[in-house]
Structures are given as C-alpha cells and as structure tokens.
C-alpha cells in the first residue's frame, strides 16, 4: 500500500490548496474565474476524500468522492456558468463591509479563533490524529470564509458561490471529524442541488444587485402604477 506518511503529506497539501481556493474566491472580481475556482475547490475536496479513503479505506468516502465529483465539480458549476451567460454578468466589483484584503486578513484571524475554539471543544473526544484536527479547523474556516463571501458580495450569484463554498466546508469538516452514513450525505447533496437550482433561477430575475432594485422598488407598483413619489 501507499505510505501513510506520504498520504498525510498529500492531505496537508490539499488542505492548503483548499484554503488558497477559498482565498481566491473571496478576493476575485471575475465571475467566470470564480466559478472555475469553485470547481477546482470541489475537485480538491474529491481528492481529499480519495486520500482519506486510502488512509481509512471506508467505502463511504469513495461514494462521497464520486457524488461530489459529479455534482459539485461538474453539474453545479456548469449550471451556474449557464446562468451567468444568461444574465450577462461578468464582474462583481462592489464589496460590502469587507474589502478583499481585509477579508483575507480577517479570515486568517478567524482560522486562529477556530483553532482555539475547536481545540477547546474537541478535548472531550479521545485523542485523534493531529491531521484530522487540522482538517476540522480548515473545514470550519472554509465555512466562515464562504460566509464572508456571502456577506461582502453584492451579486446574488456570488452569494450562491459563497454558500457552496460554505457547504464544501461542512463536507470537509464531516469527512475529517467523523463519518456520516452515506444515505445522509447523499440526501444532503440532493438537497443542495435543489437549493442551488432554485436560488440561481431566482437570481435570473435579478439582473442587477439586490441593493439596486431597492431603490427602484416603487416603480413596481403591483397594480395600476400610481404616480412615482419623488
């Protein structure tokens, strides 16, 4: 079999890769590269699952890897890319609350916090491999970074990507901390796909940022279009 230490080294590298993709997602303005970066992240996740499978040889991990590859690395990115074509948005320039640099710094701080917190919480769990702990920290951090993407970007479509990256974080965390029954994992993925489908469909209706049409709301009087108020 393959050397455990080597696999662990690979896992470490992959984890760092994931963080790098997340950082890229936070800071990039180009939507198309955002989607492909998400796709890359998912692929990394799949690789991680495979690597873990090598370590633990649990069939569930393999199944997860397969499902994730199909759904997250192929179906969803493709779908989002199609939608993007439809609404003809290429860039998401505006940021809210956090500028890209701040978010990067902030996410580093967050990772530290998550590290402390998790080490505090997981002390009750019988000692696990240091690597697994590291994976859990990365998972939660990925979630929080995804959340930061959601709240700092204005376009709904970017928010969807943020959400997806959060979900990746959950998956990562789940893989490292424990192993859930496959049926659950599978259902979650199904659920996620529906969610993303719906959200992206809804965003089609919104060709501009959410803020913009707040200002224009009064134009959309439902009936009879009364006069506009100054």
């Amino acid at each position: 079999m393959i050397d455990t230490a080597l696999v662990q080294g690979i896992i470490r590298i992959l984890l760092v890769c994931i963080i790098i993709t997340a950082a890229y997602i936070i800071s990039t303005r180009n939507l198309l590269s955002l989607v492909s970066m998400y796709s890359l992240q998912s692929v990394t996740l799949v690789c991680l699952a495979l690597a873990l499978w090598v370590l633990e040889s649990s069939p569930v991990l393999l199944a997860i890897a397969a499902v994730s590859l199909v759904s997250k690395a192929i179906v969803i990115p493709y779908f989002i890319a199609t939608i993007q074509e439809k609404i003809r948005i290429r860039r998401d320039i505006e940021f809210h609350f956090l500028s890209p640099t701040t978010s990067l710094l902030f996410s580093m701080a967050l990772m530290l916090v998550v590290y402390t917190v998790l080490s505090h919480i997981l002390r009750d769990i019988p000692a696990r491999d240091n690597l697994f702990f590291f994976g859990a920290v990365i998972g939660i951090s990925l979630m929080l970074m995804g959340m930061m993407v959601m709240l700092s970007r204005k376009r709904a479509i970017t928010k969807v990507l943020g959400f997806l990256s959060m979900e990746n974080g959950v998956l990562l965390f789940g893989m490292f901390v424990t192993e859930l029954p496959f049926i659950i994992e599978f259902l979650i993925i199904i659920d996620l796909i529906i969610l993303v489908l719906l959200t992206t469909i809804l965003t089609v209706g919104i060709d501009s940022t959410l803020e913009d049409y707040h200002k224009r709301l009064h134009r959309f009087r439902l009936v009879g279009g009364t006069e506009e108020r100054p």
Partner: protein
C-alpha cells in the same frame, strides 16, 4: 340556593351578551331591549344575593370549572365581595334602564346590538372579578373587563377624539395589566398557589415588589394621579351609559382589588398606608382642581371621579395605617368610609353621568359654555342632576356627605391617639381633604349653574327638550338611592350590625324639613304673598344678553388665579410692528392655553422617547441582505468564541 341565584344572574348577563351577537346584523330595537332586560333582571337577582350575603355574613363558595390542576374558576362571595356585587347591581340596573332608550338614539345601526351585548359582557366580567375566589380568576376576568370596556370606549370609532381616548385607554390598561400580572405572579410564589392566602412577611422583597406593582396596577386602573390621564379622555369619548359604568363601577373594581389584596394577602406595613394615603390625597386635590377648569361636562365628571377615587384611597390608606398602628376600631371606620364612599360615588357619579348624557343628548354639545337655561326646558333632568351635585359636593343630608363624614371622624378621632409625626401628616391630609370637598362644591355650583341656570347660551340649548321617560327612570332610581343612603346611613349601618360614630342623618333631615316647614308656615301667615315676574336687574342694562352672563370660565377664574401655580398656563404672544423699532403696533395674536402638565411632561415625553428609540432599533431591519448576513456571521463568531471560552 344563593349559588343558583348567582349563577342564574351570571347566565342572564351572558344571555344579554350573546343575544345581540346572534342577531348581530338585525338592527332591531327588540334585540337590544331584550339584551338590556336581561341586564336589569340579572342585576336584581345579583342584588338579592349580595344583600343576603351582607346581612347573613355567610360565605358562598362554589367551583364551576377546573380544567387543570393549576387553573380553576372557583368563586367565593364573602361580605366584601357581596358589598361590591351590591354596588354593581345597584348601578347596572338603572344604567341598563337608561341605556335601553339612550342606545336607540345613537348612530351606528346594528352596531348598537354589539354595544348592548358588550355592555353585558363588561358587567359580567366585573361581577366575576369580584366573585373570583383566587388570583387567577381575578386576573382572567380583570382582563376580560379591560377588553370589553375597551371595545365599548371605541364605539364611536370614527370620531377623532375617540381615537385618542382609545389609544390612551388601551395603553394605560396594558400598563395596569402588566403591573397586576407581575404582582400576582410574585405573590403566587410566596403563597405557593394562586389562592388569596396570607403572605405574612412584609419585609420580604418579593412581597414588597408584589405590593408595589399591584398598587401601581390598581392605581392606573383607578385613575390615581399621575396615571389618570386616560379617564378624562375615555369618559367623554364613550357612550354615556358606558361612561357611567366605567366611572361608577370599573374604578371601584380597582378599589376592590386593592382592598382584597390588602385584607387577605398582605400584612401591610405602616409606610404602605402612608403611600396609599398620599396617593389618595394628591389625586383628590389635583383631581378636583382640574375638574374646576374643565368645561367639557363629561370630562369634568371624569376629573371629579379622580377626586373621589382619591378620597376612597385616603380611606384605604388610613385603614392600613391604623391597622399597622393596631387601632382596629379606627381602621374599621376608615375601611368602612372607603367602602361606603365607593358605593356612594358609584351611585351619584352614574347619576351625574346619565343626566349629563341626557343634557348632551338634548343640546348636542358637551361644552358647558354652550348650555345654560336648561332648568326650564328639562325640569326633571335638572332636578336629578341637582340631586347628584348635592350628593357629590358632600352636602348633608345626602349620601356623599355621610361617607366623607365617616372619614373626617376617623381622622379627627385619630389625632388624639397616633404618633406626633403621623399627626402632622394627618393634619396636612385633613386640610387638603377639606379643601377638596369645598372645591368640589364650587365645581358643582359651576357645573349646575352653567348648565341649567340663567339664559341659554346657544340655540341648541334654547331649543332643548326633556328626554324620553326611560332616560329619566334610571337616574330617578339612582337619585332615590342617593337620598335613601344619605338619610338612612346610620340606620343602615345599625341594620348591618356595625356600630359607627355617625350622626343620625334621618334626624338631621327631619330637622331640616321641620325648620323649612316652620319657616314656610311663619311666612305664610306673616308675610305678603304678592309676587311679580320682572327682568333681571342689571344696573341699568337695557336688555339681558346671554353673552353678558357669568360663564363657567369666569366662575372658576378666581380659583384659577389662586391655583395658577398648579394650572401652568402657557402664554403665546406674537406681535408685528410697522417700524423696525417695534413701536407702532400693526397686528398680533395672543393665546393663553392651559397646559396639560402630566400629558406634556410625562406621557408625551415617554411616548416620544420610546418611539425614537424604537425607530433607532428598527433601523436594525434595514432591508439589505448583506447586513442580515453580517448579523448571522457576527453571531456565529460570538457563539464560537463563547464555546471556546466557556
């Protein structure tokens, strides 16, 4: 036997409530009459039960509904409850009689059915509050009473004044509910259940908090200053029978609550009594001072209610003080005074409200400056209002005097026994009490004088006609009750087996009658009987004009100036000049407005402050998804930090 009678009475009220609901869309007089007949019948039965309880001293206890271990609707009618049931019965029957005619003259079509129904619900709720055996039932029906009365106040909802009244009433009611609920819950820990059972430790902070909050709650409901503001808004806005019920009965329910809790639950401290006494005195004096200045006839009566509630609270305060000083005899007299005054006030205030309603009905205005001269047009109403005025001005030999006299006697007697410091307090209270009752007399001279005497001051007033017979029948009963209770006060107490140091008012009345008869006889035989009708002598005035008469405002002007520090007027004076040096006057406006001190310095700032802070807090919801997600994010991090830290 009594239980059944009571239940039948309650069922009749309930029937009176539901009958108009069943035919809610039929604008028929018969429906309302049927509903109000139920009220009258039920009140009669209730009166019987309460008299039986009062005379026999038996306690009627029964349980009607106990769905859960913690929830039970048990009733227990002891003498205290019986007394207040009597008050309710005595007032609601005449008021219903009056209403059966009055409601027909209101606008609103079939909405009047609802009015009649809710009137019944309101009375029923009050009856059940008084009869409830535990705090839970008390609070349940207390809330029901609040809800029913609120609906009644809002009857003329399309009137802008009603809107303000409803708002004030609703918010103050909720405030009262809040305090009462807090008190009840706090007590239920100490007592272990919702029963009215003794909590002996007055020093216990929970008991103390319970007392204070109950006191506040009842004060708000009773209209003690500074929580009185809803009264002068709600009473004028609501239909007359409703004002009569609210002023005559609902305020007494708050009094009942206070007395019930003080008697059965608390072992009061001395300073509790002082607190109640001071609250009473302040309300009494300020109430009557504001009443003097009011020229809305129902508003004036509302302020006068505040005054009378103040007097009742004084009695209760004295009761607590004397109990704490272990002077049981004086305590008994004070409590008796408070209770007796509750009954009396219920009677004469509903009498006054009903007759005032008749006047408003006849003249279509509530402003006493637009009335006048009604004594000739509405002789019976004027006689009834006069009876009420004499009673409320605490003049012998009517009932208002009898109860105030009891209170006077209690204070007079106590001065020889209590501590020096208490003596000084009592003297101050005594002086203010005397002032109150003298001002009340002035107030009702003004009211009766401006409404009924001299020349009519508006065409409506000149064309007023006496109201229909049913609208006289109710007040007549009340007036008779006032007279009987006044003259027979001593005998009634003897009959109830209570010895009080009250003068025999029957004798005084007799003496008055004899003196009047003798004088008349003497005049009949000695004096000239020639009479002539002529114009009023006006010092050479050509023709007497209504506009030249003394108005209500003019009447109270001297007192106005004397109490100017309390009234707080605001003077606005704007002048425009022709030149720049402000020496040639061109035009100007000036206004002297009476400030509503409590409203402007207490209620409105509080409302404004809470609205401003609410607007600030509502900015939290700014409609932007990013912000919302930020909240989530911050919370997540906070929770995580909390988890790592704990």
């Amino acid at each position: 036997m009594y239980t059944e009678t009571f239940l039948i009475a309650a069922a009749l009220y309930a029937a009176g409530f539901s009958i108009p609901l069943i035919w809610w869309s039929r604008d028929l007089r018969a429906v309302r009459t049927l509903s109000l007949s139920c009220t009258i019948l039920a009140s009669l039965l209730l009166g019987l039960v309460s008299v039986a309880v009062l005379v026999s001293g038996n306690v009627i206890t029964f349980m009607i509904y106990r769905p859960l271990a913690e929830i039970s609707f048990g009733f227990s009618i002891d003498r205290l409850s019986g007394f207040f049931l009597l008050v309710i019965a005595a007032v609601s029957a005449p008021v219903a009689l009056y209403a059966s005619e009055y409601y027909e003259h209101l606008e609103g079509g079939s909405r009047r059915n609802l009015l009649a129904g809710c009137t019944n619900l309101f009375i029923l709720a009050m009856v059940l509050v008084v009869a409830s055996a535990d705090m839970l039932g008390f609070f349940f029906f207390w809330e029901l009473m609040a809800a029913a009365s609120f609906l009644l106040v809002m009857y003329e909802y399309d009137n802008p004044g009603t809107r303000k009244a409803g708002l004030f009433y609703f918010i103050m009611t909720q405030l009262s509910t809040m305090f009462v609920l807090f008190g009840i819950i706090a007590l239920s820990f100490r007592a272990g259940s919702f029963r009215f059972s003794g909590v002996a430790v007055p020093a216990d902070p929970v008991v103390l908090a319970a007392f204070l909050s109950l006191f506040l709650g009842f004060s708000i409901k009773a209209g003690i200053i500074p929580f009185h503001k809803w009264l002068p808004y709600a009473h004028p806005a609501s239909p007359t029978p409703v004002s009569a019920l609210m002023s005559g009965l609902m305020l007494k329910i708050a009094v009942y609550g206070l007395v019930r809790f003080l008697l059965d639950v608390f072992a009061p401290d001395l300073w509790w009594g002082i607190l109640i006494l001071l609250a009473g005195v302040i309300s009494a004096v300020l109430g009557v001072i504001y009443a003097l200045k009011e020229h809305d006839i129902k508003g004036m009566l509302a302020y006068s209610s505040i005054e009378n509630i103040g007097i009742i609270f004084m009695g209760i305060g004295l009761f607590v003080i004397f109990s704490a000083e272990s002077l049981p005899l004086l305590a008994g007299i004070s409590l008796l005074a408070a209770l007796f005054h509750s009954l009396n006030h219920a009677l004469f205030k509903s009498l006054l409200f009903l007759t005032a309603g008749s006047v408003v009905h006849a003249t279509h205005t509530r402003d006493i400056e637009h009335m006048g001269g009604l004594a000739c047009h509405m002789p019976v109403t004027s006689a009834l209002f006069f009876t009420g005025s004499v009673a409320i001005a605490a003049l012998p030999p009517l009932n208002g005097f009898a109860s105030e006299l009891l209170l006077f006697i209690a204070i007079f007697t106590s001065i020889t026994v209590v501590d020096p410091l208490l003596k000084v307090l009592f003297l101050v209270c005594l002086a203010l009490f005397a002032l109150t009752s003298a001002l009340a007399a002035a107030c009702f001279v003004k009211a009766f004088g401006s409404v009924f005497l001299a020349l009519p001051r508006s065409p409506e007033s000149a064309g007023a006609k006496e109201v229909p017979r049913m609208m006289l029948a109710g007040p007549v009963l009340l007036a008779l009750a006032c007279i009987v209770l006044g003259l027979g006060a001593y005998q009634l107490f003897v009959l109830a087996g209570i010895s009080v140091p009250l003068p025999d008012m029957m004798l005084v009345g007799l003496l008055l009658a004899v003196m009047a008869a003798l004088t008349w006889t003497a005049l009949y035989f000695t004096a000239s009987r020639a009479e002539r009708i002529s114009e009023t002598w006006g010092c050479g005035v050509h023709l007497q004009e209504p506009s030249a008469e003394y108005t209500g405002h003019g009447f109270s002007e001297p007192l106005d100036i004397i109490f100017s520090s309390i009234y707080r007027t605001r003077i606005r004076n704007e002048r425009v000049f022709f030149d720049q040096k402000n020496s040639i006057f061109r035009e100007g406006t000036a206004e002297i407005r009476l400030m509503k001190v409590f409203e402007e310095y207490l209620y409105l700032p509080a409302a404004r402050f809470s609205l401003a802070s609410a607007t600030r807090i509502a900015r939290f919801q700014n409609g932007c998804l990013d912000t919302y997600l930020l909240y989530v994010f911050i919370t997540v991090i906070a929770v995580m930090v909390f988890l790592g830290w704990s």
